[in-house]
Symmetry: C2
Subunit: 245 residues, 2 copies
DNA sequence: TTCAAAGTAATGTCAGACAATTAAACGCCT
DNA sequence: AGGCGTTTAATTGTCTGACATTACTTTGAA
């Protein structure tokens, strides 16, 4: 684990990179303890604050965790599916909000990916998954629900559908697609959305999953995509003349 | 932007979180300059090293960039698709290597997602995408190619296929699925792989894309998945009795 | 007017110190 | 001898102050 001392700046980035590479290449394994900050600063011939900055960089990516006390120190973290999903969701939200992605592009990506799960979800769904989906549909039918709660339930429904595929890698990959879209869709369509229509489409999807009919799940998602796109188009069409005045 | 000074530890995490929230919620916009480290340390009533640790955390997630000099400082970064993809690939590699994901699960997730692009890629592929795919196939046919180069070309082929869908959000989401699998598949199957068979399957996929036949692209990917799974099964079957001795 | 040099403000790095926390080692009492 | 409370040591978390480095800005001179 070496760094280039000739480069004058960004020592902490170099050190973080060296440790990260060691983790990725398996030279540091899960739950292994890194040398103490004092030892690291000796090894890399830098000061302790510089080492600390490097460790904070790694902590920000959930690559290490730190513990205080006598047997404390920095430990290589097992990257859990949960932590990875949270990271992916944050990244996806930022990516969408900072890059002027069109509603259609994002919507297409989301539903294309979710449809990919359709067949697997229909084949493997358990009673638990079905119950979760039905519960969310029931919640969505409650008249007093706030817009935020309706959106959260919408996301929960789709998460249950994705999880029904029984493939944690797939669930992780789709976390960003499903959850990052919520703020975007919420801000655009929540005023015009017809909840009864959404509930009907969700019910059709749940029914198809219960019948283990993969094609019907896929069709249901396609119908939902069409509904969403038309809704957005209507809103954009109504906005433009208003803005042109 | 406030932090809780009563919590004794992890001040830098709190500060990083406060700034991150400000960025996500739009209170800090792209290319906006943050206050200087000295000003931030005053605002949050902490020392400059603590502020610096917080900024390094954000820099590790590509949320900010820093510049030295008189007009320097920390600026909100536009999260590019490229940077987001790089992050996702790193996260995916770590997730797979640290969580004992079965080959089958990862393989299924990868091909399920890639198949989802099939129809779009077939419909929208340009001459450039086709040329990229053909070029990679040609490279894969060269007899003197190293295993590493073959794998890299394999990844490039699939990247071209995914990019052909013309949806950058989709490309971003699939980056992890396609690129993170390379080390995993490489380490398991490269000894037993029949390159001619892979090239034939790739050619079939490229032909289908050229003919804009979405179903054929999907079928080609399914065939490739089957090939890969059987290859892996054969290897695991051969390993087990050897290890049992 | 143009170009070079000094000034200035910001990040990058270092050194040393103290506080807070935690587990292990130790000693004491039962 | 064994259990329990206390001390001790190691480590991270934070602070203070300083200097180095960088790059823009201003000023001055040709």
């Amino acid at each position: 684990m070496k760094i280039d001392p000739s480069s004058p700046a960004d020592l902490s980035a170099q050190i973080a990179g060296a440790i990260r590479d060691a983790i990725i290449e398996g030279r540091l394994i899960v739950d292994e303890r890194l040398p103490s900050e004092a030892e690291l600063s000796e090894q890399f011939a830098v000061s302790r604050p510089t080492v600390r900055e490097a460790l904070k960089r790694l902590a920000a990516q959930s690559l290490i965790r730190t513990q205080r006390g006598a047997t404390g120190g920095a430990f290589v973290n097992r990257l859990s599916f949960e932590a990875a999903q949270a990271q992916q969701i944050t990244t996806s939200i930022l990516l969408l909000s900072m890059n002027a992605v069109s509603f259609e592009t994002a919507c297409e990506a989301r539903f294309t990916l979710e449809r990919a799960c359709g067949a697997l979800s229909a084949a493997r769904r358990t009673a638990d998954h079905l119950a979760s989906m039905r519960a969310e549909i029931h919640r969505q039918s409650q008249p007093g629900l706030t817009d935020e709660a309706f959106c959260a339930s919408d996301v929960a429904f789709h998460r249950a559908l994705v999880d029904a595929a029984g493939n944690p890698v797939l669930s992780y990959q789709l976390a960003g697609a499903v959850e990052a879209m919520q703020p975007l869709m919420n801000m655009i369509t929540f005023t015009a959305r017809d909840r009864a229509r959404i509930v009907a489409l969700h019910t059709a999807i749940a029914d198809a999953a219960e019948a283990q009919n993969g094609a019907a799940v896929t069709d249901g998602l396609t119908a939902l995509e069409e509904e969403t796109k038309q809704l957005a188009q209507g809103i954009f069409a109504a906005r433009k003349p208003a803005a042109a005045r």
